[in-house]
């Protein structure tokens, strides 16, 4: 319970500070495991916008205790001046809207959201095969690749390939500037290719989006300094 009561203290501290100094920038703390996973998109949004944040990477053994004071029993959790927000996409969208990476119009924002949710559906279907590929589950990798990995990949990356092309082959999935869906896709591709080299070679437009993301100076800088983890 120490973790929970500390964050209460933190919250009240910032309420008082906000009263004294109404124009201060909010303080951000992002808590997740020490992996990229579902927190990486938000870390990259902080990097892109040059916004300082506490990158709280929780050791596995501290998770059972910390879990008790999370809103939904899961991570990541974002704290904004001590106020908590769960769910990785709610967090990413909140930060992206604040920092200008959510899409420039209502329509673009809706399309970014749609691709984000489609990615989530794809990942849920893809993970049983992918876990075998990165070694946290057992199975016949080659058989599962043919029965699951490839068809599921082709279905989703086919959608992305068309989207990137219809968007003018600009290196952005939606609109004419970086959005959080570009970051999610690029990060995921990096993780896939690390464990399954050449698995995503057949999608040149999406590869263009990925190159665009990793060559963006602030992302490049972040990628160079972040802890390297397998996923």
């Amino acid at each position: 319970f120490r973790a929970c009561s500390m964050s209460r203290v933190f919250f009240y501290f910032f309420e008082i500070l906000k009263y004294i100094l109404p124009e201060t920038m909010p303080s951000y703390k992002l808590t997740y495991f020490d992996t990229q996973g579902f927190a990486e998109v938000s870390r990259q949004l902080f990097a892109l916008s040059d916004t300082p944040f506490e990158d709280n990477r929780l050791p596995r053994e501290e998770w059972p205790e910390y879990q008790k004071c999370t809103p939904f029993g899961k991570m990541p959790v974002l704290e904004v001046d001590g106020q908590k927000l769960p769910q990785s996409f709610a967090i990413a969208r909140f930060l992206a809207r604040k920092f200008g990476f959510a899409g420039k119009t209502e329509w673009e924002q809706a399309w970014v959201d749609a691709l984000g949710d489609q990615f989530k559906d794809y990942l849920n279907a893809f993970l049983p095969f992918f876990r075998v590929a990165f070694g946290t589950a057992t199975g016949d990798l080659e058989a599962m690749k043919k029965s699951d990995g490839e068809p599921i990949r082709d279905n989703f990356f086919g959608i992305l390939e068309k989207q990137a092309k219809d968007n003018g082959s600009t290196g952005f999935l939606v609109g004419s500037s970086l959005t959080w869906i570009d970051l999610i896709v690029a990060d995921h591709m990096g993780v896939v290719e690390y464990h399954l080299p050449h698995f995503l070679d057949g999608f040149p437009e999406v590869q263009r989006v990925r190159r665009n993301v990793i060559e963006t100076p602030k992302i490049k800088e972040w990628l160079e300094k972040r802890p390297e983890r397998p996923y």
Binding site: P86, Q87, I91, E106, W107, A110, D113
Partner: protein
């Protein structure tokens, strides 16, 4: 006002949330319903992700239920009054999605069509229905207790209220007593359904099994 068409099957299912947002906002829309066998195959290739529901706005499509519902709700003031509130609406909706499409589904899809004395149904309820219910609905109870407003986020109705109350009202009908340990959740669902625009929609919507 743009011309809206919601494309979905002839059921409440994943189309109901969008229809309720239109009802709440008092915005006209074409409620296009496809026969799964006879009409859907022909339309499928015209949709961006080969899935329904899809919302058509002045001839252009937005797929993915939450994406187009969030857009509509935001436009009409039902997505939370501040950016942080809007993020909490999103978080509750995503948590419900994880619950609904996770292990709960193994019980729920059977429950929707179960006959009296269906033993497999009882087995699935014990193995999946009850444990998953007991992970998700305490979060809803807590949220309602914390806001104290009768709404899940802030002090006014959001699309999270529509999403949760619709599912709860079906659970209460299909599995009587299943949510008795969650009084705030049941009260919330009853209250949302009495909002005049929602009550009117419920009265006039096509009656379908799901």
């Amino acid at each position: 006002m743009p011309k809206y068409t919601l494309h979905y099957f002839d059921m409440r299912g994943l189309g109901e949330l969008c229809r309720q947002i239109f009802a709440l906002a008092e915005v006209d829309f074409e409620d296009k319903r496809y026969d799964m066998e006879k009409e859907w195959p022909a339309f499928k290739s015209q949709t961006p992700f080969r899935q329904l529901p899809v919302l058509e706005v002045d001839g252009k499509f937005i797929p993915q239920l939450y994406a187009h519902c969030r857009m509509l709700a935001t436009e009409h003031g039902f997505a939370g009054k501040t950016p942080f509130d809007a993020a909490w609406v999103d978080a509750i909706a995503d948590q419900h999605k994880d619950f609904y499409w996770g292990d709960f589904k193994k019980f729920w899809w059977r429950a929707l069509d179960a006959a009296e004395g269906d033993l497999v149904h009882e087995e699935l309820k014990t193995k999946f229905g009850i444990p998953e219910r007991d992970k998700f609905f305490p979060l809803i109870e807590k949220q309602l207790t914390e806001t104290g407003t009768g709404f899940l986020v802030g002090d006014s109705v959001t699309w999270a209220d529509l999403l949760i109350s619709e599912h709860v009202s079906v659970i209460v009908r299909v599995v009587p007593g299943f949510l008795d340990a969650f009084p705030e959740t049941k009260k919330h669902a009853e209250k949302i359904r009495t909002i005049p625009q929602i009550a009117k929609w419920i009265e006039r919507r096509p009656v379908t099994a799901h």
